[in-house]
């Protein structure tokens, strides 16, 4: 009888730059259904944070309600966390981000939490370009309430209920793009190598990094006619170019022929090498081209994964609001109450 994970790990499992092992980034043993895609996403987050030398105590995990929103318990056990109200994760995260810009913020949501009850919050978080990773574990159904179709269930997709969906499914990547997110990507829980690269890119990025991860619900929506099943995802994925995330510490020279690879500099000094696919692929920060590529794929019955859009120049909410760089909890009496002289100076400037 378990739910007890052994404490032994592979003795050759090396340490990262901080001297931490991958097991230091793990969380509790998952209580999700066996085979849930969300567990693979958790494992990918563990892997990405481990490889990025992320300090676990400098991470804030935020989530709402749903199977997806349980998962922050299953990774980064030594990080801060807030399991908030259904669909309201962005508000809580906004408060935390404004309060302390030094931490890495990871928001985990699901298609119900984001595309239904939390839609309003989601698009405004994107519009404000909040400096966070916002990851939706998208399985096209409400798994926690027995698998009803969600707002991202594709037209015609058949879940375990046996009834085809009669409404169009929302495309969260398109929504995020339209709403002002500065990084948009899509992946599949069964493609961990791509997902880890995307996560690393999103962690290095400053601004709203949105990842829509197809994460099959084995219990309610892994049926042959479902468009969110393992088999369907594997058969219908088109990759929008291989990603190669080069962290800022390393000085690897990679040989690529001119024009085949697009280089992007990220905020933390890391570099992103992106293989271009097809001659009509536009620049990464070309919103129109990104939308067109997504639409073309959709029309062809395919699912476009990879890094779809990236704008490293778009100012985040801190920049727009000119907020103080110091975390609020580190501001003392003098900074918070600059005194009468300062007030008079401000008033003089305003008049």
């Amino acid at each position: 009888m378990s739910f007890i994970a052994p404490n032994f790990r592979h003795p050759e499992q090396g340490a990262n730059g901080l001297g931490l092992r991958r097991s230091d980034y793990e969380g509790a043993l998952s209580t999700l259904c066996a085979g849930c895609g969300h567990d693979s996403v958790s494992a990918a987050i563990v892997q990405a944070c481990f490889e990025m030398d992320v300090e676990p105590h400098r991470v804030g995990k935020f989530s709402g309600i749903g199977c997806s929103s349980k998962t922050p318990n299953y990774f980064l056990n030594h990080s801060h966390g807030f399991n908030s109200v259904h669909g309201r994760m962005p508000s809580v995260a906004t408060g935390a981000i404004l309060g302390n810009r030094d931490l890495l913020y990871i928001g985990i949501s699901g298609d119900g939490d984001t595309a239904s009850i939390g839609m309003g919050q989601f698009i405004h978080a994107a519009r404000r370009n909040l400096d966070m990773l916002y990851l939706v574990e998208n399985n096209g159904c409400y798994g926690l309430t027995k698998g009803q179709d969600s707002a991202t269930a594709d037209l015609g997709s058949v879940s375990k209920t046996g009834v085809a969906t009669e409404l169009y499914g929302l495309d969260l990547c398109a929504l995020a793009l339209q709403s002002g997110a500065s990084l948009v990507g899509r992946s599949f829980s069964g493609d961990k190598s791509q997902l880890v690269q995307l996560l690393k890119t999103a962690i290095a990025h400053r601004g709203f990094a949105f990842l829509d991860v197809i994460s099959p619900c084995v219990t309610f929506n892994n049926t042959p006619a479902s468009t969110k099943s393992y088999d369907y995802a594997r058969e219908h994925i088109d990759v929008a170019g291989a990603l190669d995330f080069v962290p800022h510490q390393s000085a690897i020279e990679i040989d690529y022929a001119e024009g085949e690879v697009q280089k992007v500099h990220l905020h933390d000094g890391s570099e992103l090498l992106l293989e271009k696919v097809g001659k009509d692929a536009g620049a990464l920060d070309d919103k129109t081209a990104a939308l067109a590529a997504m639409n073309r794929a959709q029309d062809a019955g395919r699912m476009l994964t990879g890094l779809l859009y990236l704008d490293t120049e778009l100012p985040d909410l801190h920049t727009v609001n000119r907020t103080v760089a110091t975390p609020l909890n580190q501001l003392g009496q003098d900074e918070l109450f600059p005194g009468l002289d300062a007030l008079e100076q401000i008033n003089a400037e305003q008049s």
């Binding site: 009888m1 052994p6 499992q13 567990d39 594997r234």
Partner: protein
Amino acid sequence: MRPTNIEDPEYFHRVVDCQYACPAHTPVPEYIRLIAQQRYAEAYMVNWESNVFPGILGRTCDRPCEPACRRGRLGDGEEAVAICRLKRVAADLKGDVGRMLPSAPGEFNGRKIALIGAGPASLTVARDLAILGYELHLFDDQKKGGGMMRSQIPAFRLPERVLMEEVDQILNLGVVTHFNRRIDSLAEVLSQDYDAVFVGTGAPRGRDLEIPGRSEGAANIQIGIDFLASVAFGHTSRIGRRVVVLGGGNTAMDCCRTSRRLGGEDVKVVVRSPFSNMKASPWEKEDAMEEDIPILDNHVPKEFIVEDGVLKAVTFTRIEAVYAEDGRRSLVPIEGLDPVRIDCDDVLIAIGQDNSFPWIERDLGIEFDEWDMPVVDRATFGCGHERVFFGGDSAFGPENIITAVAHGHQAAISIDLLCRDRDVRARPLPTVQQGSQRMGIHQWSYDSPVSDDIRHVVPKADKDRSLEDRTVEVELGFAAEIGYAETQRCLNCDVQTVFDAPRCIECDACVDVCPTDCITFTEPAQSEEELRTRLTAPALEPTQPLYLADGLKTGRVMVKDENLCLHCGLCAERCPTYAWDMQKFLYHVTQAREEPTEPIKWVSVL
């Protein structure tokens, strides 16, 4: 690399490291689980069927299983499960197993077998064949059975009652004993009406050390195994105050510790080789040192100093071990150092044992090699004479009890085949039982959680008291509670992770949950070497197999590195389609007359 054939019983057998390393292939995890369930008698019988002497081996086994134990590879000072001491727990707490022991049919089957020597090899043959109705005649020049287990293993390691109990279990099967009877001619034995003769005479001759002073000091220089036998039979009860023991094997350890109990106050072991290369088991060296016996290494004996006809000392040349490029070791004297002189009253020589076959005529058809050893077949244990079989130390030179037992089982099969006019070369295949251990979504029939305990230490008798009386057993054995805690350290490596590719949906749940990163889904590989370089975690132990399965929808393969699998069952618990299952794999070495059958596969309930 081709997919693994898990239908071949040898594949999963290899995964059960302890059982695979055991010469008799005792199903170790099976009896450890029985001990955990307090089914001591059944645990004892699992041992008894396989290794014949659980109580004896639980104290004296060379334990090839323990260095092989997977637990010892888990890093951070992890040590093997105390397998040998758990065997003793089963023997100590078994109660009365009389009803569980098999009996002889009551009347002989008309076939007569002579067994020369009453040590572990002959006794094993006797047990296997007595149950089948053979008339067995056991010859030994000692007055009781047990062979070297009686004459060479001191009572403080193996109490006589333990030895007698397990020897008698076999003799009580109707074996005709001829003790105090020395066989001087194999030809004479063969001329009688025996259908087969088994030679289990061990390696009875202790090697001597011919250096200056040997003959002059003979009165105080003894061969180690002769000294131990003399003590065991009560002929020797004293030794000098200062004793030097020459040699670095387990016999040397027994000699020095016995000396401490017979009046030796200043006892030293002096060995030619470096300490780390000594043949003695590490725990036997520790036991000796705990009894205030220093071990001086890198000393080569030079001369026995005898003055006025009395042994006064031994001198030694200091050497260092030099290793050639091919790893060959040579002991080179250190220049410029004076010989080391160690004063002593008695010397015991324990530098090795040889076989001795003066009683086997060389015209019987038995071939002898350049070292004067009989040429024995490693599978059948037969030799140039159709009706003669060898086993134990007499077959291939000095080994240990558990090896002698393994030989005995195979020789018994050969003798039985011979007596039934079958081909002795047609060896029976092992039998296997395999079945799912699943009892619920998260429930297994075995203790799947892995205990973090470090290896438990066996308590010992009070040192002063045990040094006073050579019959006081030093090791006390685990109490039931500590024995239980030790059982929980066992990883149940015989509960195999069995993968059914057609069921797999490649969701990665097993890969993600595996604590030791054993599992990888990847593209097929041409060679195993190449595959080992691109697994989830490095597979650095080439002696440990990779389990490869194909037939996945994506065309990838599942690769599992067996090396560090904890057999915790999490892969199977997190598998949504039951593509993984935990199946107990019981590998049984077929014994005499058990008809080899097709491996029985239990049908999984799922």
